[in-house]
């Protein structure tokens, strides 16, 4: 069998169980694809071929002994802010360019116990601050649908790897849309679970009240399988939630007749591309055909403030979290000046990129004496308002459906010099992040030949209903553009090969 790299995880698992091929053959197929397209896509910061083949060998032993799980032998891309013992982890930053973690994150340990295979560490905007991967210190990733376009971000490498065939699934992280927006732009599925559903132990911190790890995959079933594996309480993260974990695979293929869907008016704004509006309207019609009650009159009036709330709270938390990069304990260190303080300032000036500095400064300002009440405290109060509006909506609706992003993928460089225009990419994904709610992005068709994503938001810990709605929608739509065609000219073509 050829082109094994095109399979979904659940297809691959069935065939591995049936001994149609081995896990080593599957991993070799993915690595061969990586060798062919990575010079153009640049989905990875670090490739771990030797680790992958060794892990694939162990996976074959698990299949032979009947110890295999649905993820055993499945080649995955791991976002490079997920620490992996003995494997360089940079968070897309020069300041961690030589950092080799002495321990592993909870999610990586969990995947390893399940027998999953790591292909490499996926590219990302530095410290997850960005919506295009252009803020990576290691160069941007390209969108496999058209190499001249961004894959979205910050988990753009993870989404590009899955869409481009360089991994069968991936882990990303989402603070304000960093899983869902790249999934939308790359035509794959991405799920940001409820805050606290997945342990943040060993996740390089950005905004601690917002960060969540989640899966990216080629279909809803793969994403549900990955989320099932990594979910659950972990005493090493005190914000990890003890709420029992549901078996998400149980909610696949279920009827959604009678499901109550709210569609917030405030999400249909100027700046939304006509092709995106059209696909979302068709999606709502499809939900009605599936027997759902679709109410387009839902109002979430504080939606317009989510962007300001997020871009005050996330940078504030980041300014505290990133204080640890001082060039003393690990990471890049500039020791050219005479004093410790001057070295620290030079280390941070030389080690952090432009966007990270901008956000640290924004957060430092919002937390500083005289401005704390006007910015940080005010944002926290408006956050309560946003939460209350969602809570009221979930009294009436089972799920809320919106677009994931106002646009399809945009050209590399188009928004790089206008930070606020870049922030606007996340306008539809920020509100549920601020509230800590689970939200998935599933492909809902094409606009001008590029994928459009549909976002389904659920109530706290209602991942089951989100999966149920997303799977029913995906099956009814019949989406099958799982691996992209790699058209266009990559900016990496000449420089990387």
């Amino acid at each position: 069998m050829t082109d094994l790299w095109k399979l979904t995880a659940h297809e691959a698992h069935e065939k591995l169980r049936a001994r149609e091929f081995s896990a080593v053959e599957l991993t070799e197929s993915v690595l061969e694809r990586v060798r062919a397209v990575e010079p153009q896509v640049h989905a990875y910061i670090t490739l771990t071929e030797d680790v992958a083949l060794e892990q694939a060998g162990e996976a074959d032993a698990k299949y032979a002994s009947g110890m295999a799980t649905p993820l055993t032998g499945i080649p995955l891309a791991i976002k490079d802010l997920i620490v992996t013992r003995g494997v360089r982890t940079t968070a897309g930053s020069k300041i961690l360019e030589n950092f080799v973690p002495p321990y592993s994150s909870h999610v990586y340990e969990t995947l390893r116990r399940a027998g999953a295979v790591m292909v490499g560490k996926a590219n990302m905007d530095e410290f997850a601050m960005g919506s295009s991967t252009e803020h990576s210190a290691y160069g941007p990733s390209c969108n496999p649908w058209n190499l001249e376009l961004v894959p979205g971000g910050s988990s753009g490498g993870s989404a590009a790897a899955v869409s481009g065939g360089e991994a069968i699934g991936a882990l990303g992280s989402d603070t304000g849309g960093s899983i869902r927006q790249p999934a939308s732009l790359c035509g794959v599925v991405g799920f940001d679970p409820t805050y606290g559903r997945v342990s943040r132990y060993g996740i390089i911190a950005f905004g601690s009240s917002l960060d969540q790890v989640g899966p990216i995959g080629r279909d809803v079933e793969d994403v549900a399988t990955l989320l099932d594996c990594i979910s659950g309480h972990d005493p090493r993260d005190s914000t990890s939630n003890p709420e029992p974990v549901a078996d998400l695979l149980h909610y696949l293929g279920r009827d959604i007749t009678g499901m109550r869907i709210g569609v917030p008016k405030e999400y249909f704004i100027a700046g939304m591309e006509p092709g995106v509006t059209a696909r979302i309207e068709e999606a709502l019609t499809l939900f009605e055909a599936l027997g759902c009650h679709v109410d387009r009159e839902l109002s979430l009036p504080s939606t317009e403030h989510a962007l300001a709330v997020y871009y005050i709270i996330a940078p504030s938390e980041a300014s505290a979290n990133l204080a640890r990069y001082d060039g003393v304990k690990y990471g890049y260190s500039d020791r050219s000046a005479g004093s410790m303080w001057a070295n620290m300032e030079q280390t941070r000036a030389g080690g952090f990129g432009e966007e990270v500095k901008r956000r640290i400064m924004l957060g430092t300002y919002a937390l500083s004496a005289g401005y704390y009440d006007a910015y940080y405290l005010k944002a926290q109060k408006v956050r309560t308002l946003i939460n209350n509006e969602f809570a009221a909506a979930f009294q009436k609706y089972d799920v809320i459906v919106t677009p994931t992003s106002p646009t399809v993928a945009f050209p590399l460089g188009a928004k790089l010099n206008d930070p606020y225009a870049m922030y606007l990419n996340d306008i539809y994904t920020l509100p549920s992040s601020v509230a800590g709610l689970p939200a998935i992005s599933v492909p809902c068709g094409l606009s001008e030949g590029l994928p459009v994503g549909l976002q389904i938001i659920g109530n706290f810990f209602d991942e089951p209903r989100v999966v149920q709605a997303a799977h029913a929608f995906e099956q009814a739509l019949g989406w099958s553009n799982r691996v992209a065609a790699l058209s266009g000219a990559s900016k990496h073509r000449d420089t990387q090969v």
Partner: protein, 95 residues
């Protein structure tokens, strides 16, 4: 909202980031522009609302007081830019 050069330098000092004078100009303009977009927040009525620090606050998270495995000294120092006699080495803090 317009940030002055001195304000930008003050923030940079608090954040321990050295800036060139070109950086100061650029950040003053960009940060002022971003803060302008946040101005509408001031008009939102938040009377009587408690601030949200965490979406799902868990309080008094306890664990048993049991010694577990931690990093060995060598592992903790392995990424150090400079180490000496099992310590992280830095330049003199006090002159």
């Amino acid at each position: 909202m317009s940030l002055s050069r001195d304000e930008v330098l003050h923030i940079a000092r608090l954040a321990r980031i050295a800036l060139t004078s070109a950086d100061v100009e650029r950040f003053a303009a960009q940060l002022s522009g971003i803060l302008d977009q946040f101005a509408a927040l001031a008009a939102v009525d938040t009377e009587g609302l408690e601030p949200t620090a965490h979406p799902l606050p868990l309080s008094n998270v306890m664990r048993a007081d049991v010694v577990t495995v931690s990093l060995r000294q060598g592992e903790a120092l392995a990424n150090a830019p400079e180490a000496e006699e099992n310590f992280f080495r830095v330049r003199a803090v006090l002159e």
